[in-house]
Symmetry: C4
Subunit: 280 residues, 4 copies
Amino acid sequence: MDEIRDRISNTLTIEDNRLVRELLAECIGTFFLLFIGTADYIQNAASDFGNTTSCYIVVGGLALCLPYISQPMYSGAHLNPAISFAQWVLGNIPMWKVFLYTIAQLIGAYLGAAISYFGHHDDLWKLDGGKRQVLGSQGTAGLFTTFPSAHMSTWGSLLDQILGSAILSGLVCLISDKRHKIPTGFVPPVAGAILCMIAMTFGTNGGFAINPARDFGPRLFTLCAGYGWEVFSAYRFYFWIPIVGPMIGAIIGAWLYKLFVGLHGLNEDIQISSKGYNVS
Amino acid sequence: MDEIRDRISNTLTIEDNRLVRELLAECIGTFFLLFIGTADYIQNAASDFGNTTSCYIVVGGLALCLPYISQPMYSGAHLNPAISFAQWVLGNIPMWKVFLYTIAQLIGAYLGAAISYFGHHDDLWKLDGGKRQVLGSQGTAGLFTTFPSAHMSTWGSLLDQILGSAILSGLVCLISDKRHKIPTGFVPPVAGAILCMIAMTFGTNGGFAINPARDFGPRLFTLCAGYGWEVFSAYRFYFWIPIVGPMIGAIIGAWLYKLFVGLHGLNEDIQISSKGYNVS
Amino acid sequence: MDEIRDRISNTLTIEDNRLVRELLAECIGTFFLLFIGTADYIQNAASDFGNTTSCYIVVGGLALCLPYISQPMYSGAHLNPAISFAQWVLGNIPMWKVFLYTIAQLIGAYLGAAISYFGHHDDLWKLDGGKRQVLGSQGTAGLFTTFPSAHMSTWGSLLDQILGSAILSGLVCLISDKRHKIPTGFVPPVAGAILCMIAMTFGTNGGFAINPARDFGPRLFTLCAGYGWEVFSAYRFYFWIPIVGPMIGAIIGAWLYKLFVGLHGLNEDIQISSKGYNVS
Amino acid sequence: MDEIRDRISNTLTIEDNRLVRELLAECIGTFFLLFIGTADYIQNAASDFGNTTSCYIVVGGLALCLPYISQPMYSGAHLNPAISFAQWVLGNIPMWKVFLYTIAQLIGAYLGAAISYFGHHDDLWKLDGGKRQVLGSQGTAGLFTTFPSAHMSTWGSLLDQILGSAILSGLVCLISDKRHKIPTGFVPPVAGAILCMIAMTFGTNGGFAINPARDFGPRLFTLCAGYGWEVFSAYRFYFWIPIVGPMIGAIIGAWLYKLFVGLHGLNEDIQISSKGYNVS
């Protein structure tokens, strides 16, 4: 037994290719984000339809563990194409990496929603009687991807996504800024608290996507799982808003942080160049 | 692209003027306090009118991030004119700085309420049908500024603000006292827990202001946003209580801490002079 | 102004008398425990009678700050005669100190309940219409001191207090055991989590006293505040149970910890004598 | 008194036998897990039947303290036969140790449920009128051991246990991986957050066992306490699922972590052999 285990271990160890490990980390992290996130929504719906408080708590709590996963691989854990994109705008990573990260994140998000779907199969059957529906009192697509509240206008929804993502992006810059001297093991729970905070301020109206991968990956999955094209057409083709909004918001947030905090180094700090890894 | 970014960065970097950076930090911090705080109240009201528990949680949670914002600029993050005033009474900052800080905090509070107002425009429309009202079942001014509970007397409200601010001020002295050896990155969450604690003990009766900037800035904004002078005249001109009460309370709290804990240094501690930075 | 402040500071500084500072710390800490704790109960009762969840949260949250208060004075922060008594049984402090600590804790508890009473005067008036009553739907004595649930027998109540205090005492030994290498600033929040845990497992039946000072100090205050001798005679003279129970429980918990964990040092640890300060 | 205490202490100190101390630690830790966990369920049921939110919170919160108990004895604190089994599969401990650990954990779980049963005797009497019943509106066996939701199929229940245990096992590997540099005192609360997260995603359907000792120990106790063989036969002999499911899940989780994260060491890390203590 020991020998077999060692041989398998040695074969599968990736030593040399840093990029592969980075993509793997992004993929697993986003997988976990969706796996836990959607499982939480489904369990809540199946046991007591409509209770969102504990959803928010788990959304915050799960973030505790996500960055821990990605840390040994590389320092980053974007888990969000909008964050990757903002890092390119800030000059921290090249454009081709943004594309590769985004693909890895989408695959992870798709798989996370899929495993959650199969793991809670009995619950979904209880909720919709076996007939997958997007909207209505028996609709379950909203447990995987996001839809806006009924009273939201298109511009209101877009603004909602922009503001939520701007807070996320700005605060991610903040907590990953080395000058704050946040202890390493303490960054992930703070990130969890930030997600929790956004959920409670810009969460209910637009479904709390603030992440194109978190929204588009599961939306693709629901399409494949037999929910039909309505997952894209519902609410006046809402699906583009959680893609475009977070991109805009993430850039705004990152630049605001840079303008108001990042650029102005204290004397006792290491003088950070605008090239190196200024705010992330 | 890289060149443009670098040029913008270099132009906007503030290297030499420490005071400007301090005021900037106070302004952003208070902006964020109000932006998140009021957005939280509005979302709660729009989705499930009257649920205050999650409001308290976010009020505590947001405080996680506020001091992180101000830390790289200077060590302080008062975000509250009453705390700045108490620091003058303790001899830690000069009087003219208290005035400048207060102005920066008021500007930040005003802007925070404003962005929150525009970001949750659809929600406010849902709540009051487009007609801004201060009081009553469709009144929304209380989501921005504070009003007392119906059963409170004037003296009871003032005492409420004094006690809440005294707890805040005393405990801020406590957690910023270097002798407690609280790890740097851990102070902000403890500050958040303190806010949460005050919200749950002296929060509901007086609206949990304990901060003149947090109350007066948004009150000014609601006046400008068309709520009318009633935001000042309501509840027997309540508006002066969250200004005067916190000032008195902050001084009491800071002096009580100084008398009972701050003055009595342990042998193994650095002997702190009453001049240097004794309790803050 | 500066001169006056310095002169006052110098006069009031206690440099030499360690015992006075220890007693001061116990007094302030217990004061704060009761001040926050009872204010939390009163606010909850006045705003939404009967909601206990947020009470539990604040009971846990407040413990964040209590030990921070006492730390600069001396290392300990019992805030509980039962804990002091257990420390004597373990041989860590002499008997006369237990008596002095207990007196300091009782004074603090009495004052904490008193300030909370005056700070929430309007709320109490709202609850009972100005006539102080111990029991019944308008009774408010239970907001200060503790009474058992209706279905509890005397022996069940005593067992409840013994078990709750044993958990507290054992876990206090645990988290203050230096061998666990819990970072200094992190012990108080863990203590808060422990209080929260006990509240949720042995909290509702006996009123969650597990502390003679927390129970007897406010009971004396309610007697003085005009509630009458019924605060002692109610529920078959329940008052002795939160005094005797915690004493027994604290000793059991401390000894259990010592037997199962404390005595067995690892090789790499400093060999702890059974005399020095073995488990606290 | 001092002399007696010292003699008792010296007699009972276990210095030399590391295995005995390890087993003692597993026994106490699992005892505490069940003692607190079931007491929490009973108190909740007795005060407000059916409220599960605070149960989840305490389930998470209690985990704060469990690993602290076991730390001074040895580094591990499995408290779960499935975790011990997974450690054998990973080659970290020998098979005979898995058996001994499992026995110690079962004894602890049995005793924990028993003490909780006697400590909340008045509450159980209130709930079922003195007649112990497994199922139905007055059934209390579900407060000690676990039963599935009514709508769950056998395969769904098994999948639920496998997924929950896989998350637990994978994340336990994650947080005990030295390369993440989580501060020592900070691991237990993160473990608590993980338990809380699993409770909210794969908790309600299968009763949140994910631990053979946590389920089988109390089940044995309820049999002895007069609930009858129905505790084993209920829900189509459900009892085997929380034994087999966690075993499978724990191995899957540990290997997934090893494959995706554990095997790929960063350059700056200590190169970890696949033999030593690779992921735990």
